[in-house]
C-alpha cells in the first residue's frame, strides 16, 4: 500500500495525501510525508513524548501535524520516526524520534497546515488524509 504521495495542486505551496490501513498507520505516514518536506537523512536517536487532542479524528490529524511543525521550532529538532502508542478519535499518545536541527539536513520551513482542501476520510482500504501546507 502506498504510504503517501505529493499532489501538484497548489502553485505556491505543497499538498500531499497519506494513507494507512489503520489509524496508527495513516498518522505515521502523514507525519513521515510532512518531514520529507522539512528535512532529509534524519535518524531518530532522541525521543520526545507527544500528547495531542482533537474534537474528532479529522481535527486530531490536523492538530497532530501542527504539533509536529511547532515542535521543530520549540525543540529545535528534525523528526524521522513516529511511534503512535495509543490513538482514539480524539486523542493520541506518541513517541517521536529525531535529532537536533542542522542546516545541512534542512529542506524548507513548513509554516503551517491549511484548511484548503483538507480531508480525512475512511476509505475501502483504511484511511486517507489530504493536507496542504503553507511553505
Amino acid at each position: 500500500m502506498e504510504k503517501y504521495k505529493f499532489l501538484d495542486e497548489i502553485t505556491s505551496d505543497v499538498m500531499f495525501e497519506a494513507y494507512g490501513k489503520n489509524l496508527k498507520e495513516v498518522f505515521d505516514n502523514a507525519a513521515t510525508a510532512l518531514f520529507t518536506i522539512i528535512c532529509h537523512d534524519v535518524h531518530g536517536k532522541n525521543v520526545i513524548d507527544v500528547n495531542v487532542t482533537g474534537e474528532d479524528i479529522s481535527d486530531l490529524m490536523f492538530n497532530w501535524l501542527q504539533e509536529l511543525i511547532a515542535r521543530v521550532d520549540i525543540e529545535e529538532m528534525f523528526f524521522s520516526k513516529f511511534e503512535i502508542l495509543e490513538i482514539s478519535e480524539t486523542q493520541l499518545k506518541a513517541k517521536i524520534y529525531g535529532e537536533p536541527v542542522s542546516p545541512e539536513k534542512g529542506e524548507t520551513v513548513v509554516k503551517s497546515l491549511t484548511y484548503h482542501q483538507y480531508k480525512f476520510e475512511k476509505t475501502e482500504k483504511g484511511f486517507m488524509t489530504r493536507v496542504s501546507c503553507d511553505i
Partner: protein, 468 residues
C-alpha cells in the same frame, strides 16, 4: 471563469458579481494582456471566494502577481466594513507581516563585485538562513513581550538599528494595540529562539545594483539615483511565532464562523465578525506578530550592516547603509478609505500585497535572478486597490513542478554564468525559486504602473543572493 472577465481598459478587468451567485460584490484584476494570459483560471475563481464574505466592500482586487493559493490567491486585496464586516486569519495568511526591508548604500557595483565572493558567505553566516539554522538571540518572556508590544523600538533600544530606521518602516515598525495575552504559549515558545532568523522558501537576502533610474526626481529624493548604486533587499516574516498565531486563530475563527453562522466558500477563509470578541482578539494577536516581524527584519538589518563593516573595513554609516523602507505583505489594517464618496473605516486584508498610499515607497521583489523594482505609490491606488500594489512577480509554476523541472545546481550555475552568486542551505530551494517558475516582473510592473497604482522609480538587478 477567465471568459467572464470584462475589459475596462488596458490594465483593468472586471469580474461582475453575477459570475457566481454567492458573490456579494465584483472582483477586479489589474493586469495587462501578458499578465492576463498567464493568470490561472483557478486563481480567478478563488477571488470570487473572497467576494462571497459578509461585509465585503466592492470590489475584491487581484493584483498582477496573483496566483493560486489556499482559499484565496496570493496577490489579493479585500476590504471589509469595520462594523458589519469580518476580519479573517485566513485572508491574512500564515506568515503574518512577511515583508521586505530595503537598505541603501553609497557603494558602487564595482566596489561590491570585487568582494562579492567574500560578502555572500559572510552574510550567510551572519544571518541565520534555512530551516536547520539556529537563531543567535534567545529572548526571555519579558523581552519577547517587549518585542510584541513595542516592535522596532525594542530593537533600537537594544542596539539593533538606529532611531532613523523607525520612521522609515511602515507603521513606524510598531502597530499599536498589540496584546500578548491574546497569543498562545505555543506561539511564544516558537518565537523566543527565532528572532533574527531569515527562514526558508522564498525568503532571501539579496545584494542588488540599480540598472535604471526611471523617475529621477523621486530617486534623488530617496537617495537612490545613481546607476550601479548598490542596495540590499531583505525578505522574511514573523517566523514560527506568526505561523502559530495564524494557526491558532484559524482554528478559533472556524468556530467563530459557525457561531455567527457565516457561510464559508472555502474552509481556509475562516473569519469572525470584525466587531466580535473573536475578531478583536485576532487583531490584537496579529499585531504582535506584525511587530515581531518588523523587529526581526531590523535585527537582521543591523547584522547586515556589521557584516559589510567587516568585509569593507568601513563603518556602515560611511557606506550610507540607511533603511530606505520596510513594509508588510501579509497583514490586516484598519484604514479609512473613501467608498462611494463617503469616508469609511475598513479592515483591509493584504495577502501578498504591498501598501501603496500616495508617496509610499513600494518595494516589489522579482524572482531570484531577475529584476526588482522600487516604486512610488500613486493616488490611483486609493481609488482602485484600497491603497495596495503587487508584492512580487508571482509564481506561474508550482514548487513541486519547479523541483521536477529544474536542478538546483543548474540554477546556481546559470546564475553564476550571469555573474550572480546564489548561496542556499539546500540546492532544492534554488530549483523551487528558479526564475522560470515566476511571471515576468516587467509585465507585472507595467500593469501596476499602467493602472496608475504605483510608478516605477528605479529598477534593480541582483548581484548575489543568500537564501534559506
Amino acid at each position: 471563469m477567465k471568459n467572464k472577465l470584462k475589459k475596462l481598459n488596458d490594465f483593468e478587468w472586471l469580474l461582475p458579481k453575477g459570475a457566481r451567485k454567492e458573490m456579494r460584490v465584483d472582483a477586479k484584476i489589474i493586469a495587462n494582456d501578458l499578465v492576463l494570459e498567464a493568470l490561472e483560471n483557478d486563481a480567478i475563481a478563488q477571488l470570487t471566494n473572497v467576494a462571497c464574505l459578509p461585509g465585503v466592500i466592492n470590489p475584491v482586487i487581484g493584483l498582477p502577481d496573483m496566483h493560486y493559493g489556499y482559499g484565496l490567491p496570493m496577490g489579493a486585496v479585500s476590504a471589509f466594513d469595520a462594523q458589519d464586516g469580518i476580519i479573517s486569519a485566513g485572508l491574512c495568511g500564515f506568515d503574518i507581516n512577511c515583508g521586505i526591508n530595503s537598505i541603501v548604500t553609497t557603494l558602487t557595483a564595482d566596489e561590491v563585485q570585487s568582494k562579492l565572493k567574500e560578502l555572500i558567505p559572510a552574510l550567510f553566516s551572519a544571518v541565520p538562513c534555512g530551516v536547520g539554522s539556529k537563531g543567535k538571540l534567545r529572548l526571555n518572556d519579558d523581552q519577547l513581550n517587549e518585542v510584541l508590544t513595542r516592535g522596532v523600538n525594542w530593537a533600537v533600544e537594544n542596539g539593533y538599528g538606529v532611531k532613523e530606521d523607525i520612521s522609515r518602516i511602515e507603521e513606524n515598525g510598531c502597530m499599536e494595540g498589540a496584546d500578548p495575552s491574546k497569543v498562545s504559549d505555543m506561539a511564544k515558545k516558537r518565537g523566543k529562539p527565532q528572532l533574527g532568523t531569515l527562514g526558508a522558501g522564498n525568503h532571501f537576502l539579496e545584494i542588488q545594483k540599480i540598472s535604471d533610474v526611471l523617475d529621477k526626481p523621486t530617486a534623488k529624493q530617496w537617495g537612490i539615483d545613481k546607476k550601479d548604486q548598490v542596495l540590499i533587499m531583505l525578505h522574511c516574516g514573523s517566523r514560527g511565532f506568526g505561523h502559530q498565531v495564524a494557526t491558532d486563530y484559524l482554528k478559533q475563527q472556524e468556530k467563530a464562523a459557525q457561531k455567527y453562522k457565516i457561510w464559508l466558500p472555502d474552509r481556509q477563509l475562516v473569519c469572525a465578525p470584525a466587531s466580535s470578541q473573536e475578531g478583536k482578539d485576532f487583531f490584537a494577536a496579529m499585531k504582535c506578530a506584525v511587530n515581531y516581524s518588523f523587529t526581526n527584519r531590523l535585527v537582521m538589518t543591523q547584522w547586515i550592516r556589521e557584516t559589510f563593516e567587516k568585509v569593507f573595513g568601513k563603518s556602515w554609516q560611511d557606506m550610507g547603509m540607511n533603511t530606505l523602507y520596510g513594509l508588510c505583505h501579509n497583514v490586516v489594517k484598519l484604514e479609512e478609505h473613501v467608498i462611494n464618496k463617503e469616508k469609511r473605516k475598513v479592515f483591509v486584508h493584504r495577502k501578498g500585497a504591498t501598501r501603496s498610499f500616495p508617496g509610499d515607497v513600494v518595494l516589489v521583489a522579482g524572482s531570484m535572478g531577475t529584476a526588482s523594482y522600487i516604486a512610488k505609490g500613486l493616488e490611483g491606488s486609493l481609488e482602485k486597490s484600497f491603497g495596495s500594489a503587487c508584492h512580487g512577480a508571482g509564481r506561474v509554476m508550482s514548487r513541486a513542478s519547479a523541483i521536477r523541472s529544474f536542478r538546483g545546481t543548474d540554477v546556481r550555475d546559470e546564475l553564476a554564468h550571469r555573474g550572480i552568486i546564489a548561496k542556499s542551505t539546500s540546492p532544492k530551494v534554488l530549483a523551487e525559486e528558479s526564475p522560470d517558475a515566476y511571471k515576468d516582473i516587467e509585465a507585472v510592473m507595467d500593469s501596476i504602473e499602467g493602472a496608475q497604482i504605483s510608478k516605477k522609480v528605479v529598477r534593480v538587478v541582483p548581484m548575489g543572493v543568500a537564501k534559506g
